[in-house]
């Protein structure tokens, strides 16, 4: 029993770290543009297909396919933003959220039209799991974990050291003051959408690597992504990472106790509890 628990925790940390990548994209868009972008799931799917095409059609290694996933999903995110969300900007965050949800459905069905409903797998060498005592870890699982950490490190460096990254944090923190210091909020919003959607795309590809790619690969993640961001505090970067790892572990642990079909319930329950007890989340500074 205790072994099963530890194994679930290991799996949970790895799954949570991968989940953190799209959760960071979601929370970044929320922080700068002040609305929850529910197209994030479909954008993750776009990235998964882009990475899959790069890998199976162009023979790219994972390190080459990942930037492709970022770029294609980033452009798709830009399209969602300018075609669906932006025209409704004046109507408030709820309308923008609904527009993104609708745009996500459109994207999902474009993918379904183009690629069909079949499950697609990456071309990966078949490797046997490593055993450490009682525990099993797949080499591919570990590689995905490493790639997720690399995505996060890049994001951190971008936010911390680049002028544009700092402007993004400034706008998220205090939009009016950023304006007074000469930041162009429209440009910052566009960069944020590309980076946020790109992160979702990379996350989708990493999940696709772990399982397979189909038109719902990303959509299945939306609830977990939203729960991770809410738990960490909407708009908080460290919060999204901590929230995602917590959600990843909770989901893996729930499978030990309940029927795996109930896995989705974890996200719902977490959202419900957080919104009831501490709406600002663990790291959040503002109540949403």
């Amino acid at each position: 029993m205790i072994e099963a628990l530890l194994q679930a925790l290991i799996n949970g940390v790895i799954a949570g770290t991968i989940l953190a990548v799209p959760a960071l994209g979601f929370t970044a868009i929320f922080a700068v543009l002040n609305y929850p972008n529910f197209a994030i799931g479909a954008l993750a799917t776009v990235g998964a297909y882009a990475g899959w095409v790069g890998n199976t059609v162009f023979g790219l290694p994972m390190l080459g396919a990942l930037p492709l996933a970022f770029g294609v999903a980033g452009l798709a995110g830009l399209a969602v933003q300018s075609l669906a969300v932006k025209p409704l900007e004046a109507s408030g965050a709820l309308m923008m959220a609904i527009a993104s949800l609708a745009a996500g459905l459109v994207l999902e069905n474009i993918l379904r039209f183009g690629f069909g409903n079949d499950l697609r797998g990456f071309e990966l060498p078949l490797l046997r799991d490593w055993r450490i005592g009682e525990f099993r870890i797949g080499p591919q699982q570990l590689e995905n974990f490493g790639l997720a950490l690399a995505c996060m490190a890049l994001l951190w460096a971008f936010l911390r050291f680049s002028r544009t990254g700092r402007a993004m944090r400034a706008v998220a923190d205090n939009r009016d003051l950023a304006l007074l210091r000469g930041v162009d909020p429209v440009r910052v919003a566009l960069v944020t959408v590309i980076v946020g959607a790109g992160l979702a795309g990379m996350g989708g590809m990493l999940v696709g690597l772990d399982t397979s790619v189909d038109p719902l690969t990303g959509t299945r993640l939306v609830l977990s992504i939203f729960a991770a961001a809410v738990l960490g505090g909407l708009g908080s970067i460290p919060g999204a990472v901590a929230g995602a790892i917590a959600i990843g572990m909770a989901e893996e642990l729930s499978v030990i106790v309940f029927n795996p079909a109930y896995r989705l319930v974890v996200g719902f329950v977490v959202i419900l509890i957080v919104l009831t007890l501490r709406p600002a989340g663990l790291f959040g500074t503002r109540a949403s």
């Binding site: 402007a167 400034a170 210091r181």
Partner: protein, 252 residues
């Protein structure tokens, strides 16, 4: 030499468009001018109209003789005028160093040299360079806000209630810094609630009531004027003002 000239400035918000109804004044290089007036008189709105946060409906704003009426914040900064707003005037989640860098956002090539200069001037900021701004005290935050504004080496510095919420000691220290900044040749326009103390350190004072100039003159003289004292300063000269311009302590 006159740095900032404002003539018949008029404007307001989408929801309330008649807030500032014709305000005129000038500020010369090296001069410290304070603006006082009751809550809601339109003092902060004037500063927003000057810096491109709001677009004036009428009137003129000129900086060193150049017309910048209704220009974007970017153009206003590049022309040499910068505002420290009334509230939330630092980036709380950014470090002191990053806050200063944001003050030089449009001219990143100069950021390093200017940061050294600002930190020399305010050693407190050098000591706390890696600290997040939100963890600093109110007085320290005001100094950071001023340091951030000075990062663009402005010719005109606009301050909106820099001593709001500070202890008397911190307020006095901050006033000294404001005075010293004016002495370096910067034209400073300072909105203040702490009217008596502000007038004591200012060269001139401008009294705004209901979106218009009400009184104007050399600050020491205005501070002694019994009419002004009765209207705006109250018994001991430290009272705050209500919307009619009378002091709460002395009105029936």
């Amino acid at each position: 030499m006159t740095a900032l000239t404002v003539q018949e400035l008029t404007g307001g918000y989408a929801a309330a468009d008649h807030v500032v109804k014709g305000v005129s004044f000038t500020v010369a290089s090296g001069e410290l001018v304070c603006v006082i007036g009751p809550n809601g008189a339109g003092k902060s709105t004037v500063l927003k109209l000057l810096t491109g946060l709001l677009r004036p409906r009428a009137g003129q704003v000129a900086l060193d003789g150049r017309d910048i009426t209704g220009q974007s914040p970017r153009v206003v900064i590049e022309a040499g005028m910068v505002l420290v707003p009334q509230e939330r005037n630092v980036f709380g989640t950014l470090s002191v160093e990053e806050n200063l860098a944001m003050g030089c956002f449009l001219d990143p090539g100069r950021a390093k040299a200017r940061m050294t200069a600002v930190m020399d001037r305010f050693p407190l900021l050098a000591e706390r360079r890696r600290q997040a701004a939100r963890t600093m005290s109110g007085g320290q935050r005001q100094i950071l806000a001023m340091g951030q504004a000075l990062m663009s080496e402005p010719r005109v510095l606009l301050l909106d209630e820099p001593t709001a919420g500070l202890s008397p000691k911190a307020a006095t220290d901050l006033f000294a810094l404001v005075r010293a900044t004016a002495e370096t040749g910067v034209a400073v326009l300072m909105v203040e609630q702490n009217a008596l103390q502000a007038m004591q350190i200012s060269d001139r004072a401008l009294v705004l009531v209901d979106g218009r100039n009400a009184h104007e003159g050399p600050a020491p003289a205005l501070a002694r004027d019994p009419a002004i004292r009765r209207l705006f300063l109250g018994g001991r000269g430290e009272g705050r003002m209500d919307a009619t311009g009378t002091n709460r302590e002395t009105s029936p």
